[in-house]
Amino acid sequence: MDVTVTVNGHTYERDVEPRKLLIHFLRDDLDLTGSHVGCDTGNCGACSVIVNGTLLKSCMMLAVQANGATIETVEGLSADGQLTALQQAFHEHHALQCGYCTPGMLMSATALLRENPRPSEDEIKKALQGNICRCTGYWNIVEAVKAVAE
């Protein structure tokens, strides 16, 4: 099926099998490997992207369902070569260890801060509930988001 999507400002047209998940379309067809496949069961959130303004896990959506959509992935955050305030805060607060969960964490926190620019610590934790860090580095991740919120 023909699929047209706009990802981080670029429009792509591809022929896609309906069975292909959005995450694999982004990574394999568009070579946007910033979004990660962690668990592939919808639990870990490493594949989180923003589709038409809505944060979702791209391993639980078919690529064909994104036809016509505007998609934001982690690559788009610093598209102009400058880290966003959130990315800078992750850097400064050592909010990553292995970094595998980081693209998803950044997209979830980006979505949170758009909706609620001054979240409380509890609101930050609730917003990141769908993103698992197996290095157990949650503390610094929450600190980084708090730093931007303040």
Binding site: M1, E17, P18, R19, K20, L21, H24, D40, T41, G42, G45, S48, T54, L55, L56, K57, C59, M60, M61, L62, V64, Q65, S108, A111, L112, K126, A127, Q129, G130, N131
Partner: protein, 264 residues
């Protein structure tokens, strides 16, 4: 994960969706996909075709009637419900939706998908039974309304038959509701849950203890525990809880939900 080959259609109307479902026995409706896509990855289900209900405005929206009845489109997401001013007419709905999984799943998962998948650990089947929801099902033969208690038929089975769709859920006005659950982690899968509504007597629906929610009525919250014991539940044992422990939880959670409902 690469899914098994599947056809995909995105109908422009409910009538077209019903036609697509009727003409192919192997076709399944795709709502939010937060269960179905994972089930397809595991090959626990391999539909031949998916009929995508996303984009059907007929199945969206929340309306509040003058008598307080809420009508919720089946394709309403948990996040949409939580943000809806109308849905505050029955506050428990938004409160329970806020405890389902996580932001990403709530942004995509739908109320219709939750009740139609009827996983015994889901939050909404017992809630719908406790608060007296009525489900509207449409098929090529027409439309019918089914009370929640008759909607849930078995594990993963509901009154929505082949070629049919749940279109909307009607919920009467009310505020004296409660919900209690013991979950795997905060907002995780329920090990046992209970929803209660107080309107004169207490009506409690317990989840995770049988194929469908078990509805119990009692005169007051203090009589709920005895009523649960009298129901002689035979819940499943699994890695998370023995049958005995689930029976205990059912009593505790039913009482907790009933007391919360009565206190509002």
């Amino acid at each position: 994960m690469l899914l098994r080959e599947v056809e995909y259609a995105k109908p422009a109307s409910v009538a077209e969706a019903l036609g697509l479902l009727a003409e192919n026995d192997g076709a399944r409706a795709l709502a939010g996909g937060q269960t179905l896509i994972n089930v397809m990855k595991a090959r626990a289900a391999s539909p031949d075709a998916l009929v995508d209900l996303n984009g059907l405005d007929e199945l969206k929206g929340i309306e509040l009637a003058a008598d307080g009845t809420l009508t919720i489109g089946a394709m309403t997401t948990y996040s949409e419900l939580m943000a809806s001013a109308e849905a505050k007419a029955r506050p428990i709905l938004g409160e329970v939706c806020a405890t389902i999984a996580d932001v990403q799943v709530r942004n995509r998962g739908t109320l219709g998908g939750n009740v139609c998948s009827n996983d015994p650990t889901n939050h909404l089947p017992p809630l719908m039974c406790a608060i007296g929801a009525r489900m509207t099902i449409v098929g090529q033969a027409g439309e019918r309304e089914v009370p929640a208690e008759e909607f849930f038929l078995g594990v993963y089975m509901t009154a929505v038959g082949p070629g049919e769709l749940l279109t909307r859920i009607a919920i009467p006005a009310g505020k004296h509701d409660g919900f209690a659950a013991v979950t795997l982690g905060a907002d995780g899968t329920c090990i046992c849950n209970a929803a209660a509504s107080v309107n004169g007597s207490v009506r409690v629906a317990i989840g995770c203890v049988d194929a469908v929610p078990v509805v119990i009525t009692a005169g007051s919250p203090d009589e709920v525990a005895a009523a649960v014991r009298a129901a002689d539940l035979d819940p499943p044992s699994d890695v998370h809880a023995s049958a005995e422990y689930r029976r205990h939880l059912a009593e505790v959670l039913a009482t907790r939900a009933a007391k919360e409902a009565a206190a509002r």
